[in-house]
């Protein structure tokens, strides 16, 4: 049985009724961000490993380096052509897969990545005033 949070946020998406404009906008932006991050991650990995530079990628797809910098910085003005060219320039093509929202996971979890001791001390920040700012966004 889905929990209350999932039911609330996705209920109007999955109900069969018209989807609110705000939810449509959220998922459009989410998809754009996912695609941008995917390309950026691949580029960052290849650049770090010395397999490609920005100048090389720009040249391979027939673009100026400044344009590449803009594309890496933001998904604004991206088109399907942008996505295809950037991936192809790095030797990839996209094979989309689908997520069924009706059967998606139900709860969030925090990364289990270890935190260094000094970072942990800073992040505790156990002051009375900090407690005033702690808030959880729950709209679902």
């Amino acid at each position: 049985m889905p929990n209350t949070s999932q039911t609330t946020f996705l209920s109007d998406v999955l109900s069969g009724e018209p989807i609110p404009q705000a939810k449509l906008a959220y998922f459009r932006a989410r998809l754009g961000n996912e695609l941008h991050a995917m390309v950026l991650q691949q580029f960052a990995d290849q650049e770090r490993n010395g397999k490609i530079t920005r100048a090389q990628l720009a040249r391979r797809i027939g673009r100026k380096p400044e344009q590449l910098t803009r594309w890496l910085g933001t998904r604004s003005n991206w088109t399907i052509e942008t996505l295809s060219d950037l991936l192809l320039g790095m030797g990839y093509e996209l094979k989309p897969s689908l997520v069924n929202l009706r059967t998606a996971p139900q709860s969030n979890a925090t990364s289990q990545q270890p935190v260094a001791a000094h970072e942990h001390d800073r992040t505790v920040l156990n002051t009375a005033k900090l407690a005033e700012t702690r808030t959880t966004i729950c709209v679902y």
Binding site: A22, A25, A37, G73, Q106, R122, T133
Partner: protein, 158 residues
Amino acid sequence: MVSPTMPGTMIVRRLFVSAEVRALLQGPWVDTDWEVRCYELRADIDRYITGQILPVAQEPFQGKHSYFKRLHREEDEVWEIRSIDPNPGIRIFGRFAARNCFIALTWSKRAKLKGPHSREWRDAIEMCKAEWRKLFPAYDPVNAETDYAQYLTNYLLV
């Protein structure tokens, strides 16, 4: 702490928000258009929380196309999350309390801030600093100059 909008998503980076920023993200909103814009902002915020790679500007007056930018003067350690698409652009101002721990304190529509070096920009930065001092009088934000790895993981300098 802000959770990702979609259930079942791993929290990789922590985001704490002031009441002012919480209201921006959670509503209520003045009209449908603004609600739509704030939901798009939520998707941008999710990108930070879920650990996606983020473009980070290397200089305060460069990196027009970036997600995170440290503002001038760098020693003030005021950063902005830049939600630039679509219009109107939105800027969320805050400071890093630790690596992958951003405290979002204030926000503004980009249009209100006007040009670089404007009084509006200076006021926005000072207001963020003032909010930090109110909440954390005994703590300084992360101050690591160009060692960006001390601020967050998984980023690309642009």
